[in-house]
């Protein structure tokens, strides 16, 4: 992409090569006209012809050539048209006035025209540079990683200066990291890296040189500095080597470099912030996990170990009732330990990436399997299930979805008094199935509605034991199925868990099942 301003500059450059002949031809034509007309018209008209020629030359030629041609025009007027013809003798002093006037007007026209022309050109260039700068800033601002920013910077610089650009990124330890090239074939990259290293080593000296306004050949690389430290080394090799000799272009490039350096520093900074944040998060999870492992695994282990050693060492002194109590506690605590380990394992598996084996199943069957697991503990709690008759089968992993029901029911039993009921409802809503599980306990504390799904979160209820992973597992499973799960307090008291699961397509047609073969 070549800018308009740049195009104009190049056009006139090409013209300047021919401006001397143009000026010569214009002066020659004017002289010829003057010689032809000098006997026919008044001398002032002849002067006008030369002024016209001067104007034409100053519009299209270099300043020096234009002035030279203006002088040549006046000389030709003096020699050929001022009487006596074909001599530099001044016959009448009144011609002196016209000669001086012509000379002055010629020079003024030339100077003014040239000035206007260069002002226009500069305005165009400025406009173009502003546009480039804006474009660079805009494209850099959307970059989120350092390599992307460097690549954008290299491409944009390459387009503006029609140059081959290499950017070597410098990491926080002030050593060279990745590189970005605009040219397809980075010839002898080793040498370039060495050069970049040399520039990096000399960055302070170079920065000083730049600050003192010294010119540096950018083909040999410059450091991009932000907040006192080099973030990258830039190499720029324009196809037209003269371009970087223009101080205006150099200033422009410096402005671009400042922006690039700032952008790279910004991206790097935000990446560092993000990394720190996720590290804090990971650290928090790790701590919670350690806490869970040390507390929730060690407590039942302590009970088991304690009970077992008591049985070993004090067997003779224990009555059969105490012995039975100890054995019962070993069994209960082992079961609790098993639950904790299962939850930790399940969460780890889900964290590592859910591998759901989805198949079409009736929801009723999954709910039934979950309820079956609670035969004993659920006996004192009336459970009412209502599954809409028109509910289609859903495409889910039944083992995982059963776990969701088990965990929510377990939760309900932990946090609600015995004898209170539980209701399970399921109905269809468009492409989804809505399942709600409601208990009649004291409900959730305000603010806990979303926190209950966090890993290692535990309700404030006294005596509630567990790792605090049950509902986090539910959320992971439901999300893995492309669904949502939320908790709220039901109107009339009690907690309400609401799931929305996609049906997952068109259920298999169940009308065409062949009858069994009778044997």
């Amino acid at each position: 992409m070549t800018s308009a301003g740049h195009a104009i500059a190049r056009q006139s450059e090409a013209k300047f090569k021919k401006d001397f002949p143009i000026a010569f031809v214009v002066v020659a034509i004017c002289t010829a006209c003057a010689v032809f007309l000098r006997s026919r018209v008044a001398i002032t008209n002849i002067a006008m012809i030369h002024l016209l020629g001067t104007t034409v030359v100053s519009v299209s030629c270099r300043r020096s050539v234009a002035i030279l041609s203006a002088l040549a025009g006046v000389a030709s007027f003096y020699y050929f048209s001022v009487p006596p013809w074909n001599s530099f003798v001044l016959e009448d002093n009144s011609y002196f006035v016209i000669l001086i006037t012509t000379l002055t007007v010629s020079l003024v026209i030339t100077t003014l025209t040239i000035k206007i022309r260069s002002q226009t050109a500069r305005a165009l260039e400025r406009e173009e540079r502003t546009r480039y700068l804006y474009q660079l800033i805009r494209s850099l601002s959307s970059e989120t990683d350092v390599m992307g920013a460097a690549r954008t910077a290299a491409t944009t610089l390459g387009e503006i200066f029609e140059a081959r650009v290499s950017i070597f990124l410098v990491d926080e330890q002030n050593s060279l990291a990745d590189r970005v090239d605009t040219a397809e074939d980075a010839n002898s990259p080793e040498i370039e890296s060495e050069k970049a290293q040399a520039i990096l080593d000399a960055r302070e000296r170079i920065t000083d040189m730049l600050r003192n306004g010294q010119r540096i050949d950018l083909r040999f690389g410059i450091p991009l500095i932000c907040a006192g430290s080099a973030v990258a080394i830039l190499f720029l090799t324009p196809t037209d080597r003269e371009r970087l000799n223009d101080p205006e272009q150099m200033h422009f490039l410096e402005a671009l470099c400042d922006q690039i350096a700032a952008a790279i520093a910004r991206v790097r900074h935000s990446a560092a912030v993000q990394e720190a944040e996720s590290e804090i998060q990971a650290e928090r999870t790790r701590n919670a996990l350690l806490n869970a492992v040390s507390h929730d695994i060690k407590t039942p282990l302590a009970s088991i170990y304690g009970a077992a050693t008591t049985l070993l060492e004090e067997e003779a002194r224990l009555n059969s009732e105490s012995r039975h109590e100890l054995v019962q506690s070993i069994s209960d605590e082992a079961e609790r330990l098993n639950k904790v380990v299962n939850n930790l394992l399940e969460m780890t598996t889900l964290d590592a990436g859910l591998q759901a084996r989805k198949e079409w199943r009736p929801l009723e069957e999954i709910v039934g399997a979950a309820l079956t697991r609670f035969e004993g503990p659920l006996q004192n709690r009336p459970v009412r299930t209502h599954i809409a008759d028109d509910l289609p089968w859903i495409c889910v992993d039944d083992v995982l979805l059963e776990q969701v029901f088990v965990n929510i029911l377990e939760n309900a039993m932990k946090y609600t008094p015995a004898g209170t009921g539980i209701e399970i409802d399921a109905s269809r809503k468009g492409p989804n199935v809505i399942i709600s599980i409601r208990d009649h306990g004291s409900g959730l504390l305000p603010g806990d509605e979303s926190r209950v799904f966090e890993k290692f979160f535990r309700g404030k209820t006294e005596g509630a034991r567990g790792v605090g992973l049950g509902l986090a597992i539910c959320r992971a499973i439901v999300h893995g199925h492309g669904g949502t799960i939320a908790a709220e307090n039901a109107s009339g008291g009690g907690a309400l868990f609401r799931m929305e699961l996609p049906i997952g397509g068109v259920p298999p047609h169940v009308g065409l099942i062949p009858e069994a073969t009778l044997t």
Partner: protein
């Protein structure tokens, strides 16, 4: 039924590599009157099972030298009825299905209560002697359910229940394997014949219909239990 001692002193082969689990099973099973052989690897297990065939095998799937399923395959090459009960870890449903389809009779999830293992063991051993303790003179009874296998008549709470041919066939297979788990593909194969193994929704549809006809609360089945990820079990306990 838990205090029923085995009617005869059965020989068991326990293939398990963990010494602690072997120790407590040895204690428990001996106390229950079983005679026990032990093996710690697949190759040792196969060798012992071949040299002195036991009445049942208790098999851990995670053995050091090979997958425990190998024992099932090798044993089934020469004996189709020897009961095999697999000790497995929950959340590895795939392994259970593979073991069951290879010919294992049932599985028990680790960690397990001893009562659970003993019950499964009794059911598996009984299969070799009678169809089921619930079956007398071709009549199968459990709870309020009664099935006359000779007359193909099903009653619930004294009232006759009409089943379609397929429903009856499915129920019949479940009764013949009462209290034992059956995988989807085993049921498909038994009811619809081979070449239907990827049509597991057939079974689900008919199981749903059977529950509607036989269960008081189909959403909380008492008899027709689902083993999530594995299959179904007719529960008579």
């Amino acid at each position: 039924m838990n205090d029923n001692a085995p009617e005869f002193r059965s020989d068991l082969l326990l293939i398990e590599d963990d010494p602690e689990i072997r120790k407590f099973l040895r204690t428990t099973l001996s106390a229950e009157g079983y005679r026990l052989q032990e093996a710690t690897t697949v190759s040792e297990g196969i060798e012992r099972a071949t040299r002195r065939p036991p009445d049942a095998i208790i098999l851990d799937l995670g053995l050091p030298d090979a997958d425990g399923t190998e024992v099932i395959r090798r044993v089934r090459e020469w004996n189709r009825t020897l009961p095999i009960i697999v000790l497995s870890v929950r959340a590895r449903e795939r392994d259970k299905i593979v073991a069951l389809d290879a010919g294992a009779d049932d599985f028990v999830n680790k960690p397990f209560a001893v009562g659970e293992l003993l019950a499964r063991l009794r059911v598996a051993l009984r299969r070799n002697t009678a169809i089921s303790e619930n079956t007398q003179n071709s009549i199968f009874r459990t709870g309020d359910l009664e099935v006359d296998l000779a007359k193909r008549r099903v009653t619930r709470d004294g009232k006759e229940v009409h089943l379609t041919r397929t429903e009856y066939k499915l129920l019949q297979i479940l009764i013949l394997h009462a209290d034992m788990v059956l995988t989807h593909s085993q049921l498909l194969n038994e009811v619809w014949g081979p070449n239907n193994e990827d049509q597991s929704h057939y079974v689900r549809v008919y199981m749903g219909q059977l529950r509607l006809k036989l269960e008081v609360d189909p959403a909380r089945p008492r008899y027709l239990r689902t083993e999530p990820g594995v299959g179904y079990r007719l529960n008579t306990r």
